[in-house]
Symmetry: C2
Subunit: 249 residues, 2 copies
């Protein structure tokens, strides 16, 4: 049995659910349709559907036609942490425009978030993030200096900072996210093309490396008409998290 084929079939259905093309309650394409679409035998198609059933994405089976159970599924850790990976996973194009990268002393807030003494130098980055060229989010990110210095040799407009840091040996093991709402300030207004004072969805994230120390603190502000966060929780299963992107209308 072709292992990569069943994985590709499952990934494609996952993507269609995440993107909203297949909504909760919608019928998943039948085995015959999937066999025809992928020029595949029943084996890999059944294996793909079995995987999605085990993940709780689809129901049915045992004679019942499969339907979508959850609009969202838990995104893998790396996908939930990285904007680039998330957008790539949607089959869309992530973009970024770096507006500033600076080394400066940490303010009291930042020092507290990163467990530093106030005034310890940190590296700060201001980036606009885009989905298919649509301004979607502003990142105000602070890295501890030993990590941030790795970015001075990196073109932050070229793609995922997480992927770059990982290639340099920085591995993220834990993310702590506080989600609330804030009014757009002047900078948000200019970059996200929303009125000053309009509501933005904010995620404040602290990332911890394998050594157990926080290395990144970020204040990310999303246009709420484009991005929301989804949580699925159950009596009997672990919670599932994801970001959801609306297709621009």
């Amino acid at each position: 049995m072709d292992e990569s084929l069943h994985e590709r079939i499952a990934a494609d259905i996952r993507r269609r659910v995440l993107s909203g093309e297949l909504r909760v309650g919608a019928a998943v394409p039948s085995e015959s349709q999937l066999c025809a679409q992928w020029d595949a035998s029943r084996g890999p198609v059944r294996q793909a559907l079995g995987t999605l059933r085990a993940e709780g994405v689809i129901g049915g089976g045992r004679g019942k036609p499969p339907v979508v159970l959850r609009q969202s599924m838990s995104q893998p850790f790396a996908t939930f942490m990285s904007f680039s990976r998330w957008v790539n996973g949607l089959g869309r194009t992530p973009g970024q425009r770096t507006l500033e990268i600076a080394r400066r002393p940490s303010t009291p807030d930042i020092a507290a978030a990163l467990h530093l003494t106030e005034g310890t130098p940190v590296v700060q980055l201001l980036r606009l993030r885009l989905i298919d060229d649509q301004p979607t989010m502003i990142e105000r990110t602070t890295f501890v200096e030993p990590v941030g210095r790795l970015l001075f040799d990196f073109d932050c407009d070229s793609g995922s900072i997480y992927a770059h840091l990982e290639s340099q040996g920085v591995d993220t093991t834990h993310g702590s996210h506080v989600i609330d709402a804030v009014a757009a300030d002047q900078k948000d207004h200019e970059l996200l093309d929303v009125p000053t004072g309009s509501p933005l969805l904010r995620e404040r994230r602290t990332a911890t490396s394998v050594t157990g120390e926080p290395f990144e603190y970020s204040d990310d502000r999303y246009r709420p008409d484009i991005v929301s966060f989804s949580i699925e929780n159950s009596q009997r299963a672990h919670p599932a998290l994801s970001r959801i992107a609306e297709r621009a209308s």
Copy 2:
């Protein structure tokens, strides 16, 4: 060994972490301090600390003094679903003021969320929720009629609707939550004492009963200076969810 004592000690520390009294990085009271505070022997104190360590709430042990690792831990399913239970768990006082309960035909949006035919009668509730008498959240909740009718015999100002519905045999097994930000409208302004247009944290929740059918859809709008959502995720552990309440300043 007194089973309820170690549970009470663990619950008290959990509450102090959740309420923000003990912050991330703060030292947890020592074994001797806890023994004195609870008039307890070492056994239950060690068992309580062991439980919190297993939950990832505190670190340390093996000679290192325990410190708080996570501001938030995953709230039990029932606590995450119910405002009253959550606020009670913080050791604070939940309140509610029911502004309207009405039976009316479902609009297209509501019908889609609850898998009903448009126009099917539903029961809608508008409630202001309070923490220690502070207006905190507005619920715009719709129940399918067979569930909503149970509320006409219930004083919605007396406490938890979930607790009442459970006593009537409605059991919640799954919650689907979409979190974004919206601008306060006229009603939000009047009830939450925030300017019209100011950002609110919104949770749209669909609750599913044991029979597998959605029975509740709610649009809950929180004052973001009082409530935020917390997500902890890791490479190696399941995600943990909680609501966080700031102490009013």
